[in-house]
Symmetry: C2
């Protein structure tokens, strides 16, 4: 397209604006249009210039937004001329980890609209870290599998095989089906005493971490969205405590 504008598919990370990448921070600060979902931390949106257009495509009454309509919106913005405009499609976490960034990138490519993918911290890793949990740890866990739990029972994941891999399992969007997920992993051979951590609203100011065992997972009272960590590392709590925050300029 002769008059095309780059659409930047930008990962917002898990919430705290300090955990944006330098490039994401710069793009947001110079944005003319930001297309975002419901689950973006308000502190991140505060970086966007006051006069920029914000388009919320999250699920809500009155918006019948399917992925197709979001793709169409991005194509329209990127075809619209004005090559000095900065167009940001902001996605929680990383665009390429259950973010549908690949679908949006493919749609833009097919329409001849230039795009750039800007990776972000995935909540699957930074979420557990904010609760002091390393997803791998020498002598404890030599792999980490990140899996979506919202289609449990209808997806292509072999949970029984996953139970036998031997490393950490991080389930995103798994709160609703946590009982069924636990049962499949138990059936696959994981011990009911396997440690589990549930991190509600990771890195948000309202973050809360719950600890349980795999046998208890189905009965834990937890509010979505939450990240579920399953494996020996879930017992760890390397949260640290900084004494020098005050001396750092906040530029």
């Amino acid at each position: 397209l002769a008059d095309a504008v780059t659409v930047h598919l930008v990962g917002a990370g898990p919430g705290d604006p300090d955990f944006l990448t330098v490039r994401a921070h710069r793009l947001l600060s110079q944005a003319d249009v930001v297309v975002h979902d419901r689950l973006v931390d308000p502190r991140v949106l505060e970086l966007v210039p006051a006069l920029a257009e914000r388009i919320d495509v999250g699920k809500r009454p009155g918006w019948s937004g399917t992925q197709d309509s979001i793709n169409g919106l991005l194509i329209s913005l990127g075809s619209g001329g004005g090559s000095d405009r900065v167009i940001v499609r902001l996605k929680g976490g990383d665009p390429f980890v259950f973010g549908r960034g690949g679908e949006e990138a493919a749609a833009l490519a097919n329409a001849g609209v230039p795009y750039e993918v800007v990776p972000g911290l995935s909540s699957a890793i930074a979420g557990p870290a904010s609760a002091g949990i390393p997803v791998t740890h020498r002598g404890v866990s030599a792999s980490v599998t990140v899996v979506a739990g919202h289609r449990q029972g209808h997806d292509d994941t072999d949970w029984a095989a996953l139970a036998r891999v031997g490393g950490t399992i991080v389930v995103l969007m798994g709160v609703e089906h946590r009982g069924a997920i636990a049962q499949e992993l138990l059936d696959g051979g994981l011990d009911p005493s396997t440690p589990v951590a549930l991190i509600e609203r990771a890195t948000w100011e309202s973050q809360r971490t719950l600890r349980a065992t795999l046998g208890e997972l189905g009965h834990v009272s937890v509010v979505a969205p939450a990240i579920i960590v399953i494996g020996e590392v879930a017992d760890m709590a390397l949260v640290g405590h900084s004494v020098s925050d005050l001396i750092l300029a906040t530029d």
Copy 2:
């Protein structure tokens, strides 16, 4: 410790300084001491003030650095007084994804030294992204497993089970044992035609991507360090092409 200084365990991400987090960028710009490994992109070290002390603890002639000696160095720096000093332990990628950040955090905690873990983009996700590969993609891959390949045959990973999980497999530090890894996954039932991508020096200026199949993996000529992506997504190449880079201020 009364006189302790916070040791910041900071993820450097995959290389390009634009992919540092805002917090990592700020800490490096204000650092008094930076302890780093060999594999840090020189462009990242350029952010450190000229007068700061740089301590290279990477493997090299004359340095007999074990993990214990690195832990001891960090404890010593954090116990040394001068609470206005900014001490950064810089690690490639993310400290908690095969970064031994958990070990260093635990050592500091045991010694009573305050610390902070600053997550970084893991090369396991941002590396494939830089080659246009989404590690998950709706309808193609519903999970991603990140596993270290350098201890293949001596670790606790059940590669045959991993072959049956059904999602993307990302192998870090797997170049040396790529033939044996491929064989275990084939024995576990993966098809020899399964797509494979190998990304050398991801996000560095010298990045190079090779494509192959699982059947060919053992014979691919590749230079370490490289990230190995195994699964249907490895065929994708959503690299985009930005037209608006020039108009972004580089602050």
